[in-house]
Symmetry: C2
Subunit: 228 residues, 2 copies
Amino acid sequence: MLATKHEPQDAFAPGWQDGAPRRQASELLSSIESVSVVRRLGRGEQIYGRDDPNDHWYRIVSGMARKSTLHSNGRRQIVDFLMPGEYFGFSACREHLFDVEAVVDGTIVACYPRRRVEALADSDPEIGRGLRQISFQSIGRLQARILILGHTWALEKVGAFLAEMVERSSADSNPTLVLLMSRYDIADYLSVSVETVSRALTVLRRRGSISFVNKHHIKILNPSALQC
Amino acid sequence: MLATKHEPQDAFAPGWQDGAPRRQASELLSSIESVSVVRRLGRGEQIYGRDDPNDHWYRIVSGMARKSTLHSNGRRQIVDFLMPGEYFGFSACREHLFDVEAVVDGTIVACYPRRRVEALADSDPEIGRGLRQISFQSIGRLQARILILGHTWALEKVGAFLAEMVERSSADSNPTLVLLMSRYDIADYLSVSVETVSRALTVLRRRGSISFVNKHHIKILNPSALQC
DNA sequence: CGTAGTCTTGAGTATCCTCAACGAGGGTGG
DNA sequence: CCACCCTCGTTGAGGATACTCAAGACTACG
């Protein structure tokens, strides 16, 4: 259903090695694919859980996953959506701090045993550079998340969310956006209530900024209207 | 005035290399100090600016810095406070995406030319591992930020902010907290208005959760009351 | 076809933002 | 040394926004 998509952030391609050609992170790291194990997950199935030993890194091949945590008051918070080509599971801790579950049925994830990848990186500096680049991309995603959460109004948050999803999901400038996640997921991602997400989408629709093909297929009519 | 403090996140010490002793990141990377240049900055002075070439990494030696950006509507958002021992400036982009300025007068920062550090990492896998570990710590900080921003109520945000500052600033469990930044900085960090920050602190004070030695020295009377 | 989960809309209330005023503290200049 | 200015911090009043609770429509799936 979903094609495997690599390197959604082309603007983030490693340009810092002036002598080297600009290559995709996935390409840079093709050599670690030899130690990867691929898993296929059902909807809601867990990839790893909080407190699980931090002994693998991961990459979404197709589908989507959500990284989440449960607050003490019972509210769920989604820290990140993981999309095809994106690596995750990096932690400075011995254990993972979040749960990661598949958002859609049939999500495929590549698992990399960390010690074996570390060993590869030890033997080949280029792999080490690739890993660093990947973790820098993760930092970039998280900082972008913080900017979205930093908006004052829910309408801005939802607009910025749609813009982020367009950015991350379609390499071509396709104005049609497929939101694989539920409204509840979006709400827990933006830290607003489900009703507020729904209302904000309605406002954007009434304004003519977007239109619905169906509940999860959205056409972006006025991309610039989403930015604020 | 401020002592140099390394490795504030001891819980994040590299425990993933079972055979190796658990060493501090700063220690792991002592070999890169040979290429560092130390700068001393005045209050508000810029360490790097948006669109500056991404050719250095940095570490706060003493004092504090803020990483910020300006939204299109003129509002400033602070993405991170940088504290002694913390590394920053990692980006997958060719340019930096944020401004970083010193919060207090006399902030000292160590600057590492990226290409020279990369070259060192190429020649010594241990340095590469240390760099990865450092970027993982940065990821951990950003995820913690997202959790704080994810709180619904301003009082929770401010409480979580104080808890984070206690966590990050005092290695010993000293209940006195020095907030080097202004209320405006806190507001832009938590994405609430200055007035709301002020009111929340007042509420916490009236509740007996905290008390003020002066405007920027806070005693934490009931740490658990901050968490929610 | 029925059930459970999802999505939307409405009503009422609580929170937070904006505008405004005032006080405290530090620095500068007369 | 004091007056003045400027920034920062606090508090109040009013209004806008978002949350909670509730109900109903729609969808997916068995």
